[in-house]
């Protein structure tokens, strides 16, 4: 119904009453359809296709048919030593990097909470590492770590310390990658924690002070429980991201030396694109997806986020 220029209500002219009635009845479906179609095309179809690929042996020769192998590709995971190495390295990287980033981020946020709120400029500076493209970060660290001409070894030399092969030494390569990742992603945790601290209620702290609670007691019994949802989100996002680590390893070490930095994403890339074994690559990808879902669910339950 529309209001005419004479101020009376009139019914708009009907164009094909049947069609209009049908459109009105199915308005919700029609409105949702574009979103659902896009979701199907971009998310559901690739996921289903990956499941389909994972149970086939796919030849790089387009004239050869896909060969159904059932759970064969998943069974290969059990005996594939390169996959085991990549899985172990990914676990080591994820646990070490996320733990350090969390402790540093939380510690810095607690230390600087009162001072930094006014220093917007400092916040912007701290955000720079995580705004940089991962490739740029990797190349920067490659230059820093370069054994002969890198700035790190130049500092070591000037201090009279032994020069190190930061990305080339089997004992240092993973450490070097973790350091680069910590540099890039600690600000992310720091900023989330800072936002969390800024939203804490004042009253419980005032009550705690009146009750004579020490700073440590306040942190343990008030700050940490209040921050729990923020911590959960921060850790969850970082763990999911760490499981997908690729750029730093690809640029800094290529998975070496001696396979010490080969992570799952790099291995999936090699299997899919270097060895052209798409079916097996899909199976490994599904395994990573499964691990991520299990970890996330467990984590959310532990942090009572699921409620």
């Amino acid at each position: 119904m529309l209001e005419s220029d004479k101020g009376t209500l009139t019914t708009p002219p009907r164009m094909g009453g049947g069609l209009e009635r049908w459109a009105e009845r199915h308005l919700r479906i029609l409105m949702l359809a574009p979103t659902v179609l896009i979701l199907l095309a971009l998310t559901i179809f690739p996921s289903l296709y990956m499941f389909y690929a994972a149970v086939h042996k796919i030849s790089p020769n387009p004239d050869l048919p896909w060969q159904f192998v059932g759970p064969g590709n998943f069974a290969r995971l059990l005996s594939d030593t390169q996959f085991h190495v990549a899985l172990r390295n990914t676990a080591v990287f994820t646990i070490a990097a996320v733990t350090i980033e969390f402790l540093l981020g939380l510690g810095l946020a607690l230390l600087l909470d009162r001072f930094i709120r006014r220093l917007t400029f400092l916040k912007t500076v701290l955000m720079i590492p995580m705004m940089l493209p991962p490739i740029a970060v990797a190349i920067t660290w490659k230059i820093i770590y370069e054994p002969q001409f890198g700035v790190l070894n130049e500092i070591m030399f000037r201090l009279g310390l032994p020069l190190q092969a930061w990305a080339g030494d089997v004992n240092l390569a993973m450490f070097s990658i973790i350091v680069a990742d910590v540099w890039q992603w600690t600000p992310f945790i720091f900023l989330l924690m800072l936002a969390g601290l800024a939203s804490l209620p004042v009253e419980p702290y005032e009550a705690a002070v009146l009750d004579g609670a020490s700073s440590w007691r306040q942190f343990w019994d008030l700050t940490l429980p209040f921050l729990k949802p923020v911590i959960a989100i921060a850790l969850l996002l970082r763990v999911m991201d760490a499981l997908r680590l690729f750029d730093l390893v690809f640029i800094l070490t290529g998975g070496g030396p001696a396979d010490r930095t080969k992570v799952l994403s790099l291995y999936i890339y090699q299997v899919a694109y270097r060895f052209a074994d798409t079916g097996y690559a899909a199976a490994i990808s599904l395994f990573v997806l499964f691990v991520t879902i299990v970890l996330s669910t467990w984590f959310m339950k532990r942090m009572r986020l699921a409620e």
Binding site: S59, P60, N61, P62, D63, Q82, E146, P147, Q148, F149, L163, Q164, A165, W166, A167, G168, D169, V170, A173, L252, T253, G254, G255, G256, P257, A258, D259, R260, Q270, Y273, R274, F275, A276
Partner: protein, 419 residues
Amino acid sequence: MVRKFCLALAVAASALAIAGAAWADFTILVPSSAEGDGLRAAAADYSKMKGTKVEIVQAPYANVFEQAANAGATKSGVFDIILMDDPWIPFFAENGHLEDLTPYFKNAGMEGPDDDFLSKSLAICRNPYNTGPYVCLPYVGNAQMFFYDPIKFKEAGVETPKTWDDVLKASKALTEAGGGRYFGYVFRGGQGNPVVADFMPIFWSYGADLFNADRSKVTIDTPEGAAAMKTFMALRDVSPKGVESYNANEVGTALAAGTAASSINWPDWVATFEDPSQSRMVGKISHSPIPAGTKPGSSEIGHWTMGIMTASKNKQEAFDFMIWATSPEQIKISAERGNPPVRTSTFTDPELTKQEQFRHYPVLMEAIQASTPRPRHPKWPEIENAFGIELSKAVAGTITPEEALKNSQAAVEEITGLK
């Protein structure tokens, strides 16, 4: 009004998309390197001369393989020509991604490529190696050479390094005198392709190979392989710390900066070494063929070759371009642009050889003719990866050289199904 505007916008967008798809008469996939830049320049010349629209797609080395493999597997026809590194040829040819060039030569009234091409350059373009039909044409004549600083080597008591023992003798003395800042030898020790590429010439120079002559057996873990590995480990001990992560850039930079006295490397580094803006060693680096072990030295051949993709819709245009781009005149222009040639006439052209920047041509021609291709196997990327992991472990010292050979033997047997 808004509806009309949206409609006009949609029509314009569609027209643009169609025009974009049909923009080029043919498309070439090339690497983002001197080789790709050279072919890009040639394609621009061809466009001007013939009025043909040639689109060049450039990608980093590894991505060229991936994009071409993807285009081949999906029969997309997005690329008409690919500029391939020669070890990729068996993969592309045996998976049906490359066009057999025989009928195109026949149509053009040719029996095949002319005799001016170096025989080794032509041999790699046939699949199977040297016996099958041509599936590509050679464009850039890469083969490894041995680069060294003759003054430093002379100081270390070696006039001209002819054997690996000579190299070791000089390198040991130079590294010991270098105080941790100068080294007698440097190599690509990075896991995978880099370490394999710098090990293979040593492997071959001790009479070892990955397979026996008829490719029925893996032959890595042999006495010859052990002798090669012993030399490789001795060279590692006189190389810079961190060589385990080195690739061509680090090796080339070490030589150009004058912090290492010798290495195996590709000829395109000559231009860098002779460029005063990039090198402290202008005119000071000599070149020789790969030193001998117990057998004559042999370079790894690393030619860049042009092949037509089976799914191409512009095969004849692509073939015509390839014939033009590999003609004697164009190969000479390509050489002047910095890419090593594949024709005898260019290698021996006095106009070029009298110039300082081409003084390595006689050595390079000799290196190509004494070169060996990487094992021609469709699973070479997988073989190289497995071998590269074990070599990387040996270089890093996490396993013994003997274990590296034994593990490599087992891994390659599993990949190829050969016992």
